[in-house]
Symmetry: D2
Subunit: 376 residues, 4 copies
C-alpha cells in the first residue's frame, strides 16, 4: 500500500507526526519513506510493506497528512504505475527534464580514447544545439585482454570540455561503487561544470551490490540498461532495487537482447517494448540503437539500419536516445563499426525531429478512438 | 552466376538458341531458367548452378542474347540482391502492385467463423477504400482439440463476398498442397471474383514439401511467414525454395519470434529486420503486428501496442501490413484478444498513412548524407 | 474423462451397447473411442471430450462394460499419464517391444547414399546382434540446393537388404503423406521383409497435416522428434495429434534444441528431459545424440562427446537410441562429420550396455528412499 | 605464446634473469608471469601478450631457464588447453584435491538460515563421510524485497561448526569484493577451522570488477558459475579474467541456462557441456543439479529428476557436484522446493558412487577405440 501525503508536508508538523505514528504502530508492516522533489513542490510517499491486505484503506485515508492511498501490486512497488495515472512522473536534473513525455538525445563516444576526440565530439554537439552526451570512461569488456577504458584518468578533461561546450548532462557507465566517488570528486575538483547520469550496463543489470550502492546515493540520476539475457520483469525488478534504496530517478534503457535470431544485427532490437515499459512503470524509456544494431549497414532506401532502429524507438514514444558517434570510427578503440560520423549528426537529428513530430500526431490521433470495454 | 538475357528474348530466336547451347555445354554446371513477367516486358534469367568460380564472365557477357552477367553468392541465389540494385523488384497480381517501394494493407479475419462476420468485415474494408484482406480458412492449431478452421466449406462465400465488396487480393493460409487445388477450383466455380495469395504459416516455414508444391505453381503469389524458431537466414532459404521451384513472387512476412524475452508480448517483435530483409533480398516485406504483439494492451499515450508495432514496421519501410480485425472480437474462434474492432479501422488506416508519409520524408532526407568509405 | 472398458469387450455385446448409449446421451460431450491392442488382450478406451467437470464419476463407473473411470487433465488426453500408473504403456511391432521400461538401439545411416553403403551398414549391425536400424530416404534440407535424399527409388534395396540381414524395424523419416503409401507399397512389393517406423523430423513437428495423415494410419508406429524451436508442451501436443487421429503407438525423440547457447555443439542437448517426458506421458523416450552433438569431438578422457551424450540419455532412463553411423563418413552426403565409423560400433554398444546396467541399479537404489510428503 | 620455465626456477637465478631480460626486450610484447604451485614443485609460466606471430619459437626455447614454448590461441590463454595435454591440471586446497580427474561432492545449504539448521546439515555430512559443503551467506535475489542472506553475521558459526564437523572446504558465494575480506577476517578470528572457495553466481559471471578483485587474491580458490544468458565462450572468458589477474585455481560450474525450452525444469540442464569444458580448458568442471532442475519432481522409475541430472553430469565426467540439502525444506528461506532431505543423503551418495564407477569403466573402454584420422 502506498500513502501519499499532501504536497510539502513538513516532517515536523503535527499532521506528519500523527500520521507517521499511526502507520508505525500497524503490526507486521514496515514503512519506507520516499521523497519526490519536483520543481514546485516536495511530495512524500510512504510505502507500507508487509501484509497490508487486511488494512482498512478508508481509515488511513483520513489521517491528517494523507492526500490519498493507493493499493499497489507486489511488482515494481515504487516505480510501477499501479493503475494510478496521476502520480508524478519524471524528474529534473541540472536543468534537463526527464519524463515519459519528452525526448532527450545523448549522442557521444562509446569509449573515450583521447582528449582530442572528446573535444571534437563535444564541439559538434554544441554546434548542433545539443546539451547532453554519452561518454564512456569505465568499460566492461568480455575479453580480459581488450582495452578497458581510461577510467578515472580521463574524467578531468571530459568534465572540463563538457563545461566548455555547454553540455549539461553526461551519461557515463560505472562498473563498481568506488567509481561513484571518483566521479563526484572529479566534478568537485573541476568546479561542477556539468552533470552526470550513472549508467549501469547490461552485464551489471543484476549486479545487486552495484544497484544498492547507486540506489543509496541521491546525487546522480541513473540509467539502467535492460539485461540482455533475462526477462523484462527481471530487469524491471532490478530498477526497483535502485528505487527501494532511495533513488527513483531512474531511466530504463532498451539495448537489444541476446538471442539466436538477432543476426545480422548485433542484438535483437527490442524497441517494441518501449510502450510496454511505459505502461508497466513510470520510468522514462531510453533506446540504444547503436548497441542493438551494431553496424553501419544501410538499407536499399539509403537509410542506415541504426537510423531505422532509432526511428522505430521514437515513433513508439521513446524518451531518450543513446547513440554512438566518433570523429574517426576506424580508430575507435571500442565498437567502431557501429559509430556514426560527426558529419552525419545533423541528418540524424533531423530524422529524429520529424519522427518525433509524427509520434506526437499519432498521440493526438489516438484520442479519436472510441474506447471498448476490454475483456480481461 | 546469373545471366540476364535482353528483355523479351524469344526462346525460338537464334540468339537464344546459341546462348543456351553455349551455356549448356559448360561442364559441371546446371542451368535453371527463371522468367520474370513485368507489365511491359518479359525478362529471362538463367542461373548457372555448380562450380562457376572458374568461368570467364566476359566470355559469357558477349553471347548473342545476353544483356549482363551477375556474380551471385551462394545464399538466396534467385531472391537475393547480390549487390545489383538494377534487377527487377516486385510484381503485379490482380491489379495490385507488390514491391519494396510501396505499401499494401491486408486487414481482415484471422479465422473465418461465419458468413455474417465475413460480410461485415469486407463491407467495412470497402467503406474504407481497401482492396486487400486476410481471411483464414485452414488453421493450424497447436492443440489438436482446438477449432481448426472451416476449411474448403467456407471458400465459396469468402470469394463471392470478396467480389461483392471489391476485394482484389485475399491472403489465405494453406497447410497442405491439396488446398491449392481446392482454392483454385473454388475460384473457378465462383467466377474468379477475387485473387488469392497463398500464405505459409510460421510452423510450416520449413515444411519443404509444401514449399515445393507452392513453388511449382505460378497461379498464386506467396506470402511466407518467417519461422519463429529458426535463424533469419534459414527462413530466407525457405523463401528461396519457392523461387527455385519456379515461383519468385514471394512476400516475406515478419511476425515475431519465440523467445523467453517476448513477454508480455506474445512474440518478440522483429520489425527491426524490415530493412535487413530488403537489403539481403528483393522481396517485399510484410509485418504482422497482431501475432507479434498478441493483445489489445494500450500504452499510457492512448495508442494500442499493435498500433505502435505497426508504426515501427512502416517507419522502417515495411511494404505490407497483415492485421487482425473482427466485428465482435469476444466471439472470435481464434486469437480474439488481439483483434481490432471494425470502428478502429479508420484511425488505424490514418495512423498508417501519416507514418508512411514520414517514412518517405526520411528516405528523402537520407540523400543528404555524404557517403563514407565503409570499412568492410 | 476417460472410461476404460473391461478387456476384450465386444462392441456387439449388450454391455457395450448399453454403456455406449448412456455415454452418447450425455449433453455437450463428444465421445472418442481408442483401441489398444496388446499381445494378450484388446482394450477399449472411451474419451469424453467437452465439459465433463459436472459428470458423476461413480455413476459412469457402474455402467455394465466399464472397468474404471479416470479423470484426465486437458493436456495430453490420450498419451498423458494422468496420475494413473496402471494404464498400459508401450506396444509391440514386428517382434520388437517398445516401452518406457526397455531399450532399443537404432544405429544406421542418416541418409542412404548407395546400395553398397547400406549393405555394409546392415551387415555390421547383424554381426553385432542388432535388429533395428535408421535409414533416411526422404531428407528435408535447409538449403534448396542440397542433396534431398534418394526418395522412393532407394526403398526396394533398403527393404531387401534389411530382410537379408535380419533387421526387423527401420526408423525412416517421412516428409509428406504420399510417402506413407510409397513405403507401404514397396514393402508389399518386396514381400514385407522388414518393418518401418515413420519418423517425423523436427521441422515437421508442427506440420499438423502430416501429423493427421500419419495418425490416421495404423500400419506403422511413429517416432516424433521434438520441435527444436518450440516448448516441450507444444511438442507433446503434437504427439497428441497423432493419438487423437487414432495412432497412439508413438515414440518421442529428444534431439537437441536450437539456442544461442548450444555452441560448440550443433544443438543444445536436452536429455535431462528424458525423465520429464516419461513423467508427463506414457511414450517411450528416444534420444538422438548424433544430431544433438553434431561432431566427433573427443573429450580429454578419450570418449567422443556423442558417446557421453548417449550415456547421459541412458543413465536417465532413455528407451531408444537413434545414432548415425557410416562406412565412410567423409563420403556421406548428409551429416558426415557426426557419423561414427562401423568399427566403433562394438565399443558403442558395450558403452550403452554398461550404462544401461547402471541405470537399472539406480532404479533399484531408488526404492531405498523414504518418501516425503511433498509440498505442492 | 606461453613460455614454461624449468620447475622450481628461482627468480634470482642467473637463468631466470637472462631469460626474463631477453623476453622483456621483445618490442610490442607484454609479459605476464603466472605461478603454479603444486605439491612437489613450483612452475613459472610466462605469457607473451601482443603480436607474437612473428616471434621465433626456437630462439626462445633455447633461453637458459626455458623448458618449453607453447603456441597458444587467443582464446583462454591461461586456462585453455592449447593442444598441450602435458600442462599441469588441478590444484590442492586445504587438503582437498581439485582436478579434471577426480570428483568432490559439495552438499549443503543454499542459504544459511539458522545455526541449528547449519549444525544439522554439517553433522549429517560428517556422518556420511563428507569433508566439503556449500553454505550461502550472501544471497543475490531478483526481487529487492526477498530475503538477502544473513551476510557476515552468520560467518562465525558457519566456520566454527564446519571445524567441529571436520569440513575442510566450504563453497560460499560472494557478491562484492568487500566480502572477501570479511570472510578472511572471520576465518582468522575463528582460528581458521575450515577453508573457503569463493563462489561467483551466474548473475555476476560478467561482473568484471568482482572477477578482477577475486582474481587478484591468492588465498581462496574460485568456483565460477556459467552465465545463464551468455555463450559458453563468454563464460570461459570470464574465467580467464580470474586467471589473468593471478588466480588460476578456478572451478567452472554448469548450472543450467535460461531459455524458453527449459520448462518444466527451472533452467535448461547443460551438462552435455561437461566434456566440452574439459576439452577447451584445464578447469575442473562442477555441475549444480539443484538450480538446473529446480524441483523435487520424480520420474516414474522412482528417481528424482535432481538425481538423474546429477547422474548425467557424473557419467560424462563431472568433477564436482554442488547440491542443495536442507533439514526442513519447507522452512528454507531460499529455494526450498529443490532441496533434498537429510535422510536422502546416503542414497544420493550411493547413486553418485555407482555412477562414477561406471564413468571410470567407460574411460577404460574408450581405449579400445582405434583412432581415425579426423577430417578437420
Amino acid at each position: 500500500m502506498l500513502v501519499i501525503l499532501r504536497p510539502n508536508t513538513d516532517e515536523n508538523s503535527i499532521e506528519f507526526i500523527k500520521t507517521w505514528e499511526y502507520l508505525e504502530n500497524i503490526p507486521d508492516v514496515q514503512l519506507k519513506k520516499h521523497i519526490v522533489s519536483g520543481e514546485q513542490q516536495k511530495l512524500t510517499e510512504i510505502y507500507l510493506i508487509g501484509d497490508t491486505s487486511r488494512l482498512d484503506r478508508e481509515q488511513i485515508a483520513v489521517l491528517p497528512a494523507v492526500e490519498r492511498v493507493i493499493k499497489i501490486s507486489q511488482a515494481y512497488r515504487i516505480l510501477g504505475r499501479h493503475k494510478d495515472n496521476n502520480r508524478a512522473v519524471g524528474f529534473d536534473y541540472n536543468g534537463v527534464h526527464f519524463s515519459q513525455d519528452n525526448l532527450n538525445i545523448f549522442a557521444g563516444l562509446c569509449a573515450v580514447d583521447s582528449r582530442e576526440h572528446t573535444e571534437q565530439m563535444l564541439k559538434a554537439l554544441q554546434e548542433n544545439g545539443q546539451v547532453c552526451t554519452r561518454m564512456g570512461a569505465y568499460k566492461p569488456r568480455t575479453n580480459p585482454y581488450s582495452f578497458q577504458g581510461h577510467g578515472k584518468s580521463c574524467l578531468p578533461y571530459i568534465f572540463e570540455l563538457a563545461g566548455k561546450y555547454g553540455i549539461k548532462v553526461i551519461s557515463m557507465e560505472v562498473t563498481h561503487d568506488r567509481q561513484i566517488e571518483e566521479i563526484s570528486n572529479c566534478l568537485d575538483e573541476t568546479g561542477r561544470p556539468t552533470g552526470v547520469i550513472l549508467q549501469i550496463g547490461t552485464r551489471n543489470t543484476q549486479n545487486f551490490e552495484l544497484l544498492k550502492a547507486i540506489g543509496r546515493q541521491q546525487e546522480f540520476p541513473v540509467l539502467l540498461k535492460r539485461g540482455f539475457g533475462i526477462t523484462l520483469s527481471e530487469s524491471l525488478n532490478a530498477a526497483e532495487y535502485l528505487a527501494t534504496e532511495g533513488n527513483a530517478n531512474v531511466i530504463f534503457c532498451l539495448r537489444g537482447m541476446k538471442t539466436s535470431f538477432s543476426n545480422p544485427h548485433r542484438n535483437f532490437v527490442d524497441f517494441a517494448h518501449v510502450p510496454v515499459v511505459k505502461r508497466l512503470t513510470r520510468m522514462p524509456v531510453c533506446v540504444d540503437p547503436s548497441h542493438s544494431v551494431g553496424s553501419r549497414e544501410k538499407a536499399p532506401d539509403g537509410l542506415m539500419e541504426i537510423f531505422h532502429a532509432t526511428a522505430q524507438g521514437i515513433i513508439a514514444g521513446a524518451n531518450m536516445i543513446l547513440v554512438d558517434f566518433h570523429p574517426v570510427p576506424s580508430k575507435a578503440l571500442v565498437d567502431g563499426p557501429q559509430a556514426l560520423y560527426l558529419d552525419e549528426l545533423p541528418v540524424f537529428l533531423e530524422d529524429v525531429r520529424i519522427t518525433r513530430e509524427t509520434y506526437k500526431k499519432r498521440v493526438q490521433l489516438a484520442k479519436k478512438i472510441t474506447p471498448h470495454q476490454e475483456i480481461q
